[in-house]
């Protein structure tokens, strides 16, 4: 089991390796001779971006962590306009951010191949909503390829680049959490010479304002052209190697399985022991190739479409069938749930119902017994790490702002501040929205300082927004400009832990680090000052008292205050220390001093501190303590101290 970044660059065609879906896609991009890659990290797409960052230099690829998905999209798009093969990746909600450029530029097309990888998150394992990118594909008339396993994902990337170049059109490669984060056996292909020799490729942009300037006179041409292209692509996909018909040729019943659903359908059929069905495996849920569909439907008496989330394929199939005058039952969302992710159980249940047979095991019985179990299993939601600087920031903010304050927050690890005991997150909506919401709440409850009538001083509703460093650059900036310009009365605390922690420690403008070396660092406080914030300060949240006092002071100021709470991410720091073989102090509770007040647990909540119900004292789990000393500052009875002996 070699290092993934080595495997992705292995010049060993034919070798079988175990790769994560996202790693396989990175390999596919390299096999396709990609030149430019730009993205903003977002689970479940992040590993693709990180792998590209790790291999960029060695493969002669330009790679950047952009500040948001729209900017990343524009970087890659311009490279594709310049004749290079380019790619961007994002999670489903990231496409909402990039959508403005995506929808407007689709008619301009590309010169070099342009692949947009979008990772959906059905069941919302780490996302704020559930959305189906295939609908975007249909909306924009952009073909969507969807792999059913990691090897296919790798192969699809190459096909996607070819397809994009052939039609000078965008192509979406859509994955889901279960394909991006599944490992499977992958057979390595050839790497092109450019990649092997780390040759950086440069492009040329040929000016053509009638194509690249979307004034109405020009863009009026685009829409009919797009529609024409997508129908040509529909034709082309009849011969797409990722679409095929399998199973019994003269079967009377058929199942259509797009993308990863194919995997679940195959398993379900094996489990049910059913083999007299015909299966249409679809690697291209949009557009559905009608030629292949016609061949598949021939002789069938009923059909089931097993697809995750929206009825994208179902609607195309039904429309086609209606136009053809085909009158057979076509099932889909009546038997397959429209929300949450596909599972083998769901596929089995739907197919069993469709065929009028029983399921191999009694799922209802398992559910019933599990119901009893779930009542006695204590919940274990994720929590802020031990030594996490955000815990201290929240603790200080809560104490300084008081219980009546409103706390809009944002997307990142720190969203976990919503959980007890911290409870310092009242709203999260989308990246960067904390500042926009804080401004809106301030306008609604306090009025603007620019208005004749507004509330201030003791009267004002206290609003403290929290936002991470990466999120601040992502979409916090325009919102901050808006709040300062329109004179609201809010405090914005930027939780600057010097990495994009939630997605895996990627750098951002606040760190200045890029995959190619040092870029230029842009300190958050400088931005806030330059924009004209009424109060700007930087604190170290490991000093809880100083943080509390700074927040108190900022709250006295009328207008927009920005406090940068800066301390490096604990998980990141401990990881680095472990790698270097360094030790850190481990804290413990002096039993005699502990009064059992539980403040460390009920107000602070470091996961390394637990309650010993026998001695009725707090205790520290030494394997979890990361040595920040926060507990020392929180305990009113001085019960915490570092242990004499240092250890890991």
């Amino acid at each position: 089991m070699a290092k993934v970044t080595d495997i992705v660059l292995w010049d060993k065609p034919g070798e079988k390796v175990l790769l994560l879906g996202n790693h396989a896609i990175a390999r596919g991009a390299l096999e396709a001779n990609i030149a430019v890659y730009a993205a903003y990290p977002g689970t479940p797409s992040s590993e693709l971006t990180d792998t590209m960052a790790a291999v960029a230099e060695k493969a002669g690829v330009y790679m950047e962590y952009s500040t948001n998905e729209k900017v990343a999209f524009e970087t890659a798009l311009s490279a594709a306009w310049s004749g290079l093969r380019a790619m961007t990746a994002m999670k489903h909600v990231g496409l909402n951010v990039a959508a403005d450029t995506f929808m407007s530029a689709v008619g301009m097309g590309v010169e070099g191949g342009f692949v947009i990888m979008v990772a959906d998150d059905p069941s919302m394992w780490s996302s704020q909503n559930e959305q189906d990118t295939r609908v975007y594909g249909k909306f924009a008339n952009v073909p969507v390829l969807e792999p059913s396993d990691p090897h296919e994902a790798k192969e699809m990337v190459k096909y996607a680049f070819d397809l994009s170049e052939k039609f000078k059109h965008f192509v979406i490669l859509r994955t889901t959490t279960r394909s991006s984060h599944a490992r499977g056996d992958v057979v390595l292909g050839e790497l092109p010479e450019d990649i092997k020799q780390a040759r950086r490729k440069f492009g040329k942009f040929k000016k053509d304002p009638t194509r690249f300037v979307d004034i109405p006179a020009h863009s009026r041409r685009f829409h009919p052209q797009i529609l024409e292209k997508i129908e040509k692509i529909r034709e082309e996909l009849n011969n797409c190697p990722f679409n095929w018909i399998e199973g019994k040729e003269d079967a009377k019943v058929g199942i259509i399985a797009p993308g990863l659903s194919y995997a679940y359908v195959k398993e379900a059929l094996a489990w049910l022991g059913v083999d007299d069905v015909k299966v249409l495996k679809l690697g291209t849920p949009f557009p559905v190739p009608y030629g292949l569909l016609e061949k598949f439907m021939d002789g069938l008496e009923k059909v089931l479409i097993v697809e995750e989330l929206e009825p994208v394929v179902e609607e195309q199939v039904k429309t086609w069938a209606y136009d053809k005058g085909l009158r057979i039952p076509i099932h889909g969302k009546d038997l397959v749930p429209r929300v949450y992710e596909m599972t083998t159980r769901r596929a089995v249940t739907a197919i069993a119902k469709f065929l009028g047979i029983g399921t191999p095991i009694n799922f209802a019985e398992i559910d019933e017994k599990y119901e009893k179990v779930s009542r006695i299993v204590p919940p274990r939601p994720p929590s802020l790490c031990p030594a996490c600087p955000h815990r201290n920031s929240f603790f200080a903010i809560r104490k300084a702002a008081g219980p009546k304050a409103i706390f809009p927050s944002d997307i990142g690890c720190y969203t976990l501040g919503v959980l007890p005991p911290l409870k310092t997150v009242d709203t999260t909506v989308a990246m960067g929205a904390s500042i926009g919401v804080a401004h809106g709440l301030s306008i609604a409850t306090n009025g603007s300082l620019a208005e004749k009538e507004h509330k201030s001083g003791k009267e004002k509703q206290i609003i403290v927004a929290t936002i991470g460093d990466s999120t601040f650059y992502h979409t916090g900036l325009p919102a901050l400009a808006n709040a300062i310009y329109n004179r609201s009365n809010v405090l914005i605390v930027v939780l600057d832990n010097l990495v994009t922690a939630m997605t895996g420690d990627q750098p951002n403008p606040g760190t200045g680090q890029t995959p190619h070396g040092m870029g230029r660092r842009i300190p958050i406080e400088d931005v806030a000052k330059a924009m004209g914030a009424d109060f700007v300060a930087v604190v170290d949240p490991y000093d809880i008292k100083a943080t509390y006092e700074t927040v108190k002071k900022a709250l006295q100021v009328e207008g927009v205050s920005v406090v940068v709470s800066r301390q490096v991410c604990a998980l990141y720091k401990i990881g680095q220390m472990r790698r270097r073989g360094e030790k850190w102090p481990i804290y413990h509770v002096i039993e005699d001093k502990c009064t059992g007040c539980k403040i460390c647990i009920n107000a602070y909540g470091c996961p390394a501190i637990y309650w010993d119900s026998e001695t009725k004292k707090a205790k520290v789990d030494p394997s979890m303590c990361w040595g920040c000393g926060g507990c020392v500052q929180v305990c009113p009875f001085d019960a915490f101290e570092p242990m004499k002996e240092e250890g890991e």
């Binding site: 299993v377 204590p378 994720p382």
Partner: protein, 202 residues
């Protein structure tokens, strides 16, 4: 082989993904078609974590279906119970015996079931076998607490019907861990093997 399913559970940060990946590579080296499903992102922050390792002809998706796990390998006792709906009838639960009480328990908002209660549920309601042992203690004995996952994998290799050989797994561990730690890891593996042999005889 048609299909073999392992569910690995525990608390974020315990090395569950590493264990799943090791087993996946071992299965790949043994010539199987492999799928490993894992959780990323926020859930890894000390939350409950589940990973799946599956191999065999009938395996396509990366998730083990409910009622189909041959083994649940758990790094923390209550986490085995949380995912007990994956266990097949006659399946085996192998767990590290050291509880990590969730914050909710410390705050007095929830209680933590005893090992006996867990055993009863697994055996009586789900028709499985439940075995708990202190893998952390054995890891410390081997020389480093971070080898707890290797102790557990060693134990897993002894379960009846387990399709991968000890040597196949050990080979992957040898080429995966930092060279300096090979001995510690091998020792941890052996201690796991020994513990399982004793338990399974009972």
């Amino acid at each position: 082989m048609r299909e073999y399913n392992i569910v690995i559970t525990g608390v974020g940060g315990q090395g569950i993904l590493t264990a799943a990946n090791l087993l996946g590579w071992a299965a790949l080296h043994a010539g199987h078609k492999v799928r490993v499903g894992e959780v990323h992102g926020m859930s890894q922050r000390f939350g409950s974590v589940i990973a799946y390792v599956r191999f065999g002809e009938n395996v396509y998706g990366a998730m083990v279906p409910e009622g189909k796990a041959d083994v649940i390998l758990s790094f923390e006792p209550v986490e085995a119970l949380r995912y007990i709906n994956y266990l097949k009838k006659g399946g085996l639960v192998f767990t590290n015996a050291r509880p990590i009480p969730p914050v909710q328990v410390s705050m007095g908002l929830a209680t933590y079931p005893t090992l006996d209660e867990m055993k009863k549920i697994v055996e009586e309601d789900f028709g499985g076998k439940f075995m708990a042992f202190d893998a952390e203690k054995l890891a410390l004995e081997a020389g480093n607490i971070v080898t707890t996952n290797v102790v557990l994998i060693g134990a897993l290799s002894q379960t009846p019907g387990f399709p991968l050989s000890e040597e196949e797994i050990k080979e992957v561990i040898r080429i995966s861990v930092p060279p300096k730690t090979i001995d510690v890891n091998m020792k941890a593996f052996e201690l796991g093997v020994k513990a399982a042999k004793e338990m399974l005889r009972l």
